[in-house]
């Protein structure tokens, strides 16, 4: 994790289990490769919401798309129930789609602008021939009402006639229509105003309870992720750093990167001087040439020679709290101040 290992994987049954997943993108003809996901293992348990956080470019969306088989993994496994997705092809893969859905960040452009809302929500039911004509129509009306859209008025209209928040509701209706087991939500509220964001977060919680969903929730806003998740995984440059329950992770982060991320969050309290709160110096290194050993070491105030030589392995520091770091922070231990080293 900012190293590798599987100590955190559950022994019991999981809905989704990703092992040793690697995704690389070639850069033009240069022979160079972006290492977007670099040996990630993670599991998602029945009925939970797993939050995924990390800075832009750390590979969150790529991981989501690799689970969906929208991008092809170079190696590793994605087990959905007992089906191994990475080796499935064509029709077999298509048959898994209604059970595994994805919602994207930009609510307006992720809906086909030429289609009417009724058709958009129905699409999955038609493609996978779920139910008969009457039951499909009933399902469309049901899910639209459930997400808070006036179904009768909406089905004949097109996406551009709706606000960003309403489009995100329609995306959610479309995703739940096929009765999926898992929905991967890639930054579903990042493009929305705080007021609409709160409505959509509450809606996702309601959908989860109503349809018994399991969610993977990708976001870069740590407060949002804390609010919705049962477990949170922190990623850095294609690796996992830390995974724990949100209350534990936020109260006592064990990975220096998590601690630094938490200290960079702006707080709506004028008594707190933001310039004295730490944060992370510098910028994320190029994924074309990630640092050896621990990928976070170029920005880590605790880094030693060992961190450059050896990749840290994931270990359980407290019950259900896993971290990949040679020198994890103890409970209550603060991260020393960082030098503002801009890479």
């Amino acid at each position: 994790m900012a190293g590798t290992g599987k100590a955190h994987l559950s022994q019991g049954e999981t809905v989704l289990r990703i092992e040793d997943l690697f995704v690389e993108f070639p850069v033009g003809r240069s022979g160079l490769k972006v290492s977007a996901v670099a040996g990630i293992s993670i599991d998602v348990r029945e009925g939970e919401t797993l939050g995924l956080v990390g800075e832009s470019g750390c590979g969150k969306s790529t991981l989501g798309k690799a689970i969906m088989q929208i991008v092809t993994a170079n190696s590793g496994q994605v087990l959905f129930g007992d089906i191994e997705l990475t080796t499935l092809k064509g029709e077999e893969l298509r048959q898994t789609r209604p059970r595994l859905q994805m919602i994207f960040q930009d609510p307006i452009s992720s809906l086909n602008p030429r289609r009417r809302v009724g058709k958009i929500v129905r699409e999955g039911l038609d493609i996978w021939k779920i139910g008969d004509e009457a039951s499909r129509q009933a399902k469309v009306l049901e899910v639209l009402e459930v997400v808070g859209i006036d179904a009768e008025a909406a089905i004949g209209r097109r996406p551009h006639e709706f606000s960003g928040g309403q489009c995100q509701r329609i995306s959610i209706a479309r995703a739940v229509a096929t009765e999926p087991r898992v929905i991967i939500c890639d930054e579903p509220v990042s493009a929305l105003d705080v007021s609409v964001q709160a409505q959509i977060l509450n809606l996702l919680e309601d959908m989860k309870a109503r349809y018994g969903l399991t969610l993977v929730f990708i976001a870069h806003d740590l407060a949002v992720v804390k609010n919705i998740s049962d477990r949170v995984a922190v990623m850095y440059l294609g690796k996992l750093c830390e995974i724990a329950t949100p209350d534990d992770l936020y109260a006592s982060p064990a990975h220096p990167y998590t601690a630094a991320l938490l200290s960079a969050i702006p707080v709506a309290d004028p008594e707190v001087n933001p310039t004295l709160r730490g944060g992370v110096g510098g910028e994320i290194p190029s994924p074309l040439a990630p640092p050896s050993g621990c990928r976070f070491r170029t920005r880590c105030p605790l880094a030693t020679e060992k961190c450059a030589e050896e990749e840290p392995q994931v270990q359980e520091v407290r019950p259900n709290h896993f971290v990949a770091c040679h020198f994890p922070l103890a409970e209550g231990q603060d991260l020393p101040a960082l030098e503002a080293n801009i890479a």
Binding site: E55, S56, S163, G165, D193, V194, S195, V196, Q197, A198, Q199, L201, N202, E205, H220, D221, L222, A223, V224, K226, N227, I228, S229, D230, T245, P246, D247, Y250, A260, L261, L262, A264, I265, P266, V267, A268, D269, P270, E271, V272, N273, P274, T275, R277, G279, V280, G281, E283, A340, I342, A343
Partner: protein, 349 residues
């Protein structure tokens, strides 16, 4: 600030002693096919030298149009702009473009939300900085180059010589925003507008950029108008906050007063809809129902009334005026302002 005291200060004091910026009843309407969009609808405030005003509100509330209208950076056609913008006592509403050109860059400058679209993609970064310098300060090419180097180092860009020769796409988002700041402060403006300068950036980079803006501002004694939809961003970094709703300032107060004693139901609702990092996970969020109003046909009475939990018939028929500042300098426009008990539940992150 009342209209009377504005007149008094601008009529009798010499330009250099007049407040840096006095905006009075500024209105900016756009004529569109669907009708008149009242994007800014009577905004007044005063900003002194070296101070920071935060402007907060949902998208579409008029924050960007307000900044652009103060700077005179509006489309040439189909705009109605009225009211008064006095910069060091000089009236800018109705001023010639030739006068405004002297102000842009030199006296006031702007950092935009998306540095990629506001930098010229086909011009080296160095040239983009030196061009402005040479235009405004009338200095030699060498001198301009030296200044550009110094500026890039001062905004925390390592290896400035190499960076000067790069194009914007060769830089990360955070680096580009640093370049934007370097360009904006190059000519030593007295007033800097930062319109959502960190909305497109990661929290880590966001913190770095906001720190940078703050140090530059202190070192140069610039005034700043920091526009954002994130109350967390303005909390520790502004002297005063104006909350905008539907083209109007609905509450304005010194930052500490606003957070400890908010009075407007919209400010309360905005603050309580933010997930708080200190709350346990799965805390049910308070939401503001509905959406911001249509600015072509806004609701009658208080524009927040269709979404306000405390609205009465009076609210739906009569528009509340912005109150005169109290002894704390606190102003709000509401018939039934939030009382202490309700406020405490709003809390902070």
């Amino acid at each position: 600030m009342s209209a009377a005291s504005i007149k008094e200060s601008s009529a009798t004091t010499p330009a250099s002693e007049a407040p840096l910026l006095v905006v009075n009843d500024l209105k900016t309407y756009f004529k569109t096919d669907r009708g008149l969009v009242r994007a800014v609808d009577g905004v007044s405030f005063t900003l002194e030298r070296g101070r920071t005003l935060g402007v907060v509100g949902e998208s579409g509330s008029g924050k960007t149009v307000l900044s652009r209208s103060i700077m005179g950076l509006l489309p040439k056609r189909d705009v109605e702009r009225s009211g008064s913008v006095k910069f060091e006592g000089v009236e800018l509403v109705g001023a010639d473009t030739s006068l405004m050109v002297e102000y842009w860059g030199d006296q006031m400058a702007m950092v935009f939300q998306d540095p990629m679209t506001s930098l010229n993609p086909v011009m080296r970064v160095g040239k983009q900085i030196t061009e402005g310098l040479r235009q405004h300060l009338d200095i030699s090419k060498d001198h301009a180059n030296q200044t550009a180097l110094a500026l890039l180092s001062s905004v925390g860009i390592p290896e400035p010589e190499r960076r000067l020769r790069q194009y914007p796409h060769e830089m990360s988002g955070g680096m580009r925003q640093r370049v934007m700041i370097a360009i904006a402060i190059a000519c030593g403006p007295k007033l800097l507008f930062a319109d959502e300068p960190t909305t497109a950036l990661d929290v880590t980079v966001q913190a770095q950029i906001l720190d940078l803006l703050q140090t530059q501002q202190r070192d140069r004694y610039m005034a700043m108008i920091l526009v954002t939809h994130d109350l967390g961003v303005v909390a520790g970094r502004t002297d005063e906050i104006a909350v905008m709703y539907a083209g109007k300032v609905v509450e304005k107060a010194p930052t500490k007063v606003l957070f400890s004693n908010l009075r407007h139901p919209y400010t309360e609702a905005l603050l309580s809809s933010i997930p708080k990092i200190s709350d346990p996970s799965h805390t049910r969020l308070k939401t503001i129902g509905g959406r911001p109003p249509n600015l072509i046909n806004p609701p009658s009475g208080c524009k927040f009334s269709p979404r306000c939990a405390y609205a009465t018939d009076k609210c739906r028929t009569e528009e509340p005026p912005l109150s005169a500042p109290d002894s704390d300098g606190h102003q709000f426009s509401c018939w039934f302002p939030v009382e202490l008990s309700a406020k405490q539940t709003a809390g902070v992150r």
